[in-house]
Symmetry: C2
Subunit: 257 residues, 2 copies
């Protein structure tokens, strides 16, 4: 029987100095051998970007004069790739990305660097999950970190199907107010967006994106809604983007060269 400790890779998109990553790292320590490989600066909303046209550099990053992890001048997906292919002596058993500051539920999962690190883990055939605390204001990561540890232990025991990651969103309330854990699907609510048009001191126009989700489906089986009811949402995502249901109809178009 294999008695070795599980190897756990942590990454994020808020950057290696982010408090959410530190909280996750503190809680996960006890579960196995933990390695941190994370972006050297904040990389939110980078989607599933990878760096092809520039060299990547890696630094040792310290906390309290002790080695904490590797900082990379790349995206979350770059971090998982370079950890797997170049930095780690042995392949990880689990990838955890987070704890992100801000929600990655619903359509946000598509833009999320946090989710992309877990997706990259899954592409490399490692069980992976992303975890986010759904607030930008005064984040307290205590409960989210505790839940991450619990979920990590379950995944290490149960595994995940190849190509499937979990996307976890935790409401920003004390543990006593958490209403439960809800298995959810990804919300498809649209964003009502606005580009704020401004003029800079040199009289040049620039735009700044703002937006809010509208028409959130009022269904506990939807991640966006479950978190409004103080439920932890756990959504299984996969990276096979094919819309299988639509294949027959597309065949019927009779496209020819």
């Amino acid at each position: 029987m294999d008695e070795r400790k599980p190897r756990i890779l942590l990454s994020n998109d808020d950057g290696i100095s982010a408090p959410g990553l530190k909280a996750l790292w503190q809680e996960i320590q006890g579960l196995g051998d933990v390695v941190v490989v994370a972006p050297d600066s904040e990389k939110s909303a980078v989607g599933h970007a990878i760096t092809l046209s520039d060299p990547l550099r890696v630094w040792n990053f310290e906390r309290n004069d002790r080695f904490f992890g590797y900082a990379v001048n790349g995206t979350p997906a770059d971090c998982v790739k370079i950890a797997y292919w170049a930095l780690l002596k042995e392949k990880p058993d689990l990838v955890i990305s987070g704890i992100n500051q801000g929600s990655n539920s619903g359509i946000n999962a598509i833009y999320s660097g946090t989710v992309s690190a877990a997706t990259e883990g899954t592409i490399l055939r490692i069980p992976s999950f992303a975890i986010s605390l759904t607030t930008f204001t005064d984040p307290d990561f205590t409960y989210a970190a505790k839940f991450a540890r619990k979920l990590a232990a379950v995944i290490l025991a149960n595994g995940l199907p190849q190509g499937t990651l979990l996307n976890v969103n935790v409401p920003p309330v004390p543990e006593a107010e958490i209403a439960g854990v809800q298995i959810t699907r990804q919300g498809q609510s649209a964003y009502l967006e606005h580009f704020d048009r401004r003029v800079d001191p040199a009289n040049r126009v620039y735009y700044w994106l703002t937006g809010k989700k509208i028409d959130v489906e009022e269904n506990l089986a939807v991640d966006d809604f479950a978190i409004t009811k103080n439920m932890v949402s756990v959504t299984p995502l996969h990276h096979d983007l094919t819309n299988y249901d639509y294949l027959p109809q597309l065949e019927s178009w009779g496209l020819t060269p």
Copy 2:
């Protein structure tokens, strides 16, 4: 009956000066009122990134002393968003992204800025497709542009289901050698990757990512394989990433707070 011309938005990830976009623009002219909104420089492998932490700027871009389109200092998804919410007077009927230089089949669809512009169109509930020519060497976009026009006309006639885009990959052969059009699913072949470790003139280490697809499934119903047989692959993708098949098993884990 609405006799107005269809409004068609073009974008890409190779940048507004890329020859593939010009070839697409020339061919699509005849189909309707065409507007180009594209990144001011190459944005390959940016995934579904959006720019939140920096202002976006927009320039008029000319070709042969005539207005060609709007150049944006952002990602492909930014371009479609800012076109929709700020630049265009009326909403487009169709978004086309491309013609990309290089394949976006299989797992590449996840990293692709070209695909992300079409995904963004779909999020905004506009029928959308991405089109790529599967070569980096001496690209001849003639046939791919012709196919784009044909497909655009079919989509304008048939529509696409909400949330579904088409991802088209065209083999780099003359029209006479095109073997057909194949409706496909997204290949799931892994990449064998390598970070080339180098030392710069200042004696600092850097890494450069290289990789190749391995174990491509030999099945014409898979995009990666169809294009090797000189078939045009047309894959319906959607942005609901939920793995519905796995929901029941995840429920059985009995996760609690």
